[in-house]
């Protein structure tokens, strides 16, 4: 039996390496091509990309898009947390009958493609334009809806892992108000779930293109696409940088999730 298991382990290892190498070539080749494409000749693409003043002077649209995306990502994360965390806790504590409805609404954007949402959002944004102007920051409203499914699942998993009811009752019996219960009792206990919801939100917003481009607002993806028509090299460089940034965000998230499990 031991010999059989060792033989299977060897076979699995061989299979693993064949699959990884073949698919690895398919997935790594475009990344290598991006590096090669951006370092051809004596172009200064990469040194320009890390030199912010120079970059914003040479490619003002790109700089504007990068700033817009970073602002959108942070404000969407904030908006999502303010909207979702208190509601999720409150529904669990006081209105368990509404949980299915809230879950259904939060997962609804999964069945509505972003391109369809844009069609419906156009009239709503006509009003947003009227009241708040056409700033690219107004996209935060649409993005908060877009990240609802991912953020909800992260926060709901965090809340399922602790006994919210008992914690809240204990705090209430010691005289805490609802604000204290949420901010100082429940929130610290779901810290890592909140953090992963925020990470996912940032990654999704940094990659968003559909809504921004069709509502005539800018972000980094719109800028990359626009720049591609005049300077493909710079577009490819920013694309690669954005992919790597998202990769490290998600890798960090997976390491964080592990530390949480280990510390429990």
């Amino acid at each position: 039996m031991a010999g059989l298991i060792a033989r299977r382990a060897r076979k699995q290892a061989a299979f693993r390496w064949i699959v990884l190498v073949v698919l690895g070539v398919f997935f790594v080749l475009p990344l290598i091509a991006m590096v090669e494409f951006t370092t051809r000749g004596d172009q200064q693409t990469w040194s320009l990309l890390v030199d912010w003043p120079q970059l914003s002077e040479t490619y003002p649209d790109l700089a504007e898009g990068i700033v817009a995306s970073l602002l959108q990502a942070s404000f969407t994360a904030l908006m999502m947390l303010v909207l979702l965390v208190p509601t999720a806790i409150w529904v669990r504590l006081r209105l368990p009958g509404l949980r299915r409805l809230v879950e259904f609404i939060c997962l609804l954007p999964l069945t509505i493609p972003a391109i369809v949402l844009v069609v419906g959002l156009a009239p709503v944004y006509a009003w947003v334009n009227y009241f708040l102007g056409g700033s690219s920051l107004t996209l935060v409203f649409a993005y908060t809806v877009l990240v609802l499914p991912y953020a909800y699942r992260a926060i709901d998993a965090g809340l399922s892992a602790i006994d919210v009811q008992t914690l809240a009752e204990a705090a209430r019996s010691l005289g805490a108000g609802w604000g204290t219960v949420m901010l100082r009792v429940v929130l610290p206990n779901i810290r890592s779930a909140v953090l992963s919801a925020a990470f996912l939100t940032v990654a999704l917003v940094l990659g968003e293109f559909t809504i921004a481009s069709l509502l005539n607002r800018t972000n980094v993806q719109v800028a990359i696409n626009f720049l591609g028509k005049s300077s493909a090299t710079m577009s490819v460089a920013v694309s690669l940088a954005a992919l790597l940034l998202a990769f490290f965000l998600l890798l960090l998230l997976s390491l964080l999730g592990d530390r949480r499990r280990a510390s429990r």
Binding site: F27, P113, V118, V145, A203, L240
Partner: protein
């Protein structure tokens, strides 16, 4: 305090959430659904939905469905192989962690950046195109530049479909217990019997469900195609772009909404089937 009053006060706490989703999710959905059945002068009308039968729209729907189906099947097969390779690796290992993170990026973050990745790779002056032309003497575009048409879309979509399969299929593979294999072996079953009689049937609902999810994902995708295709609107998301950005053709103001509704119907059917299969998967591999 009377019970009704307590309940009303509890409900008050959810008002911000419901008000927000009403404005930015429910109203847009209703705009699409109602708009699809509204005439240009107001009032109910079936003319938009009837216009979906026009040949260019039907062709775009057909191409969208073909593109999604082909990339879903390719993505499901290769993604499942990759997921199995990862499932047999050490669970907390760096290999698995890095591949999963990379899969997350490519599956959900892609969009425009992937279009440019492929322009750098097999664009007209891309790395592979130039290498093959100068070193090997093969011109991959001798039959026309296919990167910016449906074959190109299939290739680029595969690049984000395989990673998505890894993400959605890996949990099902992790649910397979080694004891099942040992049980099959102790009863004299070979590897072939184990895969066709035990693991295969258990994984089939998860595999089919994941394939459906991949289909919905490709069908809804817009950014990659928008960045890659600038001439013509071969697939339905690009037709909607055309309807949104071009001059409104008289008598077709709500055509975009009808096409959007058509997309929602397709995705809703696929996702319902997915949810049913998911329930079946959870019985054994949850």
């Amino acid at each position: 305090m009377p019970r009704a009053l307590v309940r009303a006060r509890s409900l008050l706490g959810t008002v911000p959430f419901f008000a927000y989703v009403a404005i930015f999710l429910i109203i847009p959905t209703l705009v699409v659904v109602i708009g699809a059945f509204a005439g240009d002068e107001g009032g109910a009308s079936l003319s938009n939905v009837r216009a979906l039968k026009e040949s260019f729209i039907l062709a775009a729907f057909g191409r969208s469905i073909l593109l999604s189906a082909v990339t879903a099947v390719i993505g499901a097969i290769f993604g499942a192989l990759l997921a199995y390779a990862l499932a047999t690796a050490r669970p907390g290992g760096m290999l698995r962690r890095a591949v999963t993170a990379a899969a997350g990026v490519l599956a959900q973050f892609g969009g425009v950046t992937l279009a440019f990745a492929f322009i750098a790779t097999i664009g007209l002056s891309g790395f592979v195109t130039v290498f093959l032309r100068d070193q090997v003497g093969v011109d991959i575009y001798s039959g026309g530049v296919w990167l910016f048409e449906t074959p190109g879309l299939i290739l680029v979509y595969t690049y984000f479909q395989i990673p998505l399969m890894v993400i959605v299929f890996l949990p099902a593979l992790d649910g397979i217990r080694p004891q099942w294999r040992e049980a099959a072996e102790s009863l004299g079953g070979t590897t072939w019997v184990y895969w066709t009689r035990v693991a295969g049937p258990l994984l089939a609902p998860a595999f089919l469900g994941s394939t459906l999810l991949l289909f919905a994902n490709a069908f809804s995708a817009y950014a990659t195609a928008a960045a890659l295709v600038s001439q013509g609107n071969p697939i339905i998301p690009l037709q909607i772009r055309g309807a949104l950005t071009s001059e409104v053709v008289l008598g077709q103001q709500n055509l975009g909404k009808a096409m959007a509704l058509g997309m929602v119907v397709v995705v809703a059917v696929v996702m319902t089937l997915y949810a049913l299969l998911q329930r079946r998967t959870a019985r054994w591999l949850g």
